[in-house]
């Protein structure tokens, strides 16, 4: 073997690419073209590596093809990518849905109590089910105040026996509490999801 464009090597490559083309007929045209191009370039690239390397045996064409694997297996991998469950759901796809859900949770906590109390209970379930908040946030969301803004409705009943000067402060706490809690929860929902660079440093270290 003196030249990288050895006839025997060329034949090996041609046979391999023919098998790939035959197997790939099941793929959509654009994917087939892309795959064929990538594999062809890979082999051509490997042959230039072999050219430059002193040890020509290291990237012999037969080895390159063997490491690539059976053309049929490559096509199978390309075909599987068409299945939805093979895809990585990206944060970009997931984040908006999660955000809408979590925002709905906060709205239910705030005003769900006005819907005969049921909305608030659903909100509490959703709050504790969401991975977004820490336990402390969940406790605040649940306890300030049970029922959300609907808690204000009990103030007049409550306040009947109290001095009238206390009524405004009770109303303020009754309305202000849930609003502050809701703002606190929403800040977690709408703060930019981008991770701090610390995560990537962790990765390199790992």
């Amino acid at each position: 073997m003196t030249s990288s464009y050895d006839i025997a090597d060329d034949r090996l490559v041609a046979d391999y690419l023919n098998r790939l083309a035959a197997a790939a007929v099941s793929l959509p045209a654009d994917r087939r073209a892309e795959l064929f191009e990538e594999i062809s370039v890979h082999i051509a690239e490997a042959r230039t590596v072999r050219d430059r390397a002193a040890d020509t045996a290291s990237l012999a064409v037969a080895d390159v093809l063997e490491r690539l694997g059976q053309p049929e297996d490559i096509v199978r991998a390309a075909a599987e990518d068409g299945e939805p469950d093979a895809a990585i759901p990206t944060p970009a796809e997931r984040a908006p849905r999660r955000r809408v859900l979590d925002t709905g949770t906060v709205v239910l906590l705030l005003v769900g109590g006005l819907l005969i109390g049921l909305g608030w209970i659903v909100g509490v379930f959703m709050l504790w089910a969401s991975p977004r908040w820490r336990t402390s946030d969940k406790l605040v969301g649940t306890l300030v105040w049970p029922g959300g803004l609907a808690a204000v409705l009990v103030v007049p009943a409550f306040g009947a026996g109290l001095p009238p000067v206390l009524l405004p402060s009770l109303l303020l706490v009754g309305i202000g509490g849930p609003v502050v809690a809701a703002v606190r929860l929403l800040r977690h929902v709408w703060r930019a999801p981008a991770r701090p660079p610390a995560d990537r440093h962790t990765l390199r270290r790992a």
């Binding site: 594999i39 370039v41 051509a44 490997a46 490491r67 297996d73 895809a87 990585i88």
Partner: protein
Amino acid sequence: MLVGEAANLVAQMRRGVLPYCVLAMLTTKEQYGFEIVHALGGIDGMVTGEGTIYPLLARLRRQGLVETTWQESTTGPPRKYYRLAEAGQDALAEFTESWQRLRDSVDDLLASSGQEPS
């Protein structure tokens, strides 16, 4: 559990983490296809057939996790370079966090049950 089942499980896990390994390889610099495939192929137990990485790269591109550019090469055919996109960085950061948590938990569990290799 049967040995064959464990081997099958490992193959599935490898398939699951491979996309993130590719993303991780691109964090520091963009790389061309052959470079990525050759490096992954050199890691013990990472890929069974190097050729199957190309469909994976194509999928990551379609998902917007990586971006590609063609660049001329002085030594061979033009090269398709892969670069980590912003969505890819987010996906990788999220995976890294989950992976570390899972790995630590499994390690702890195996260690406490005396399965840790001595």
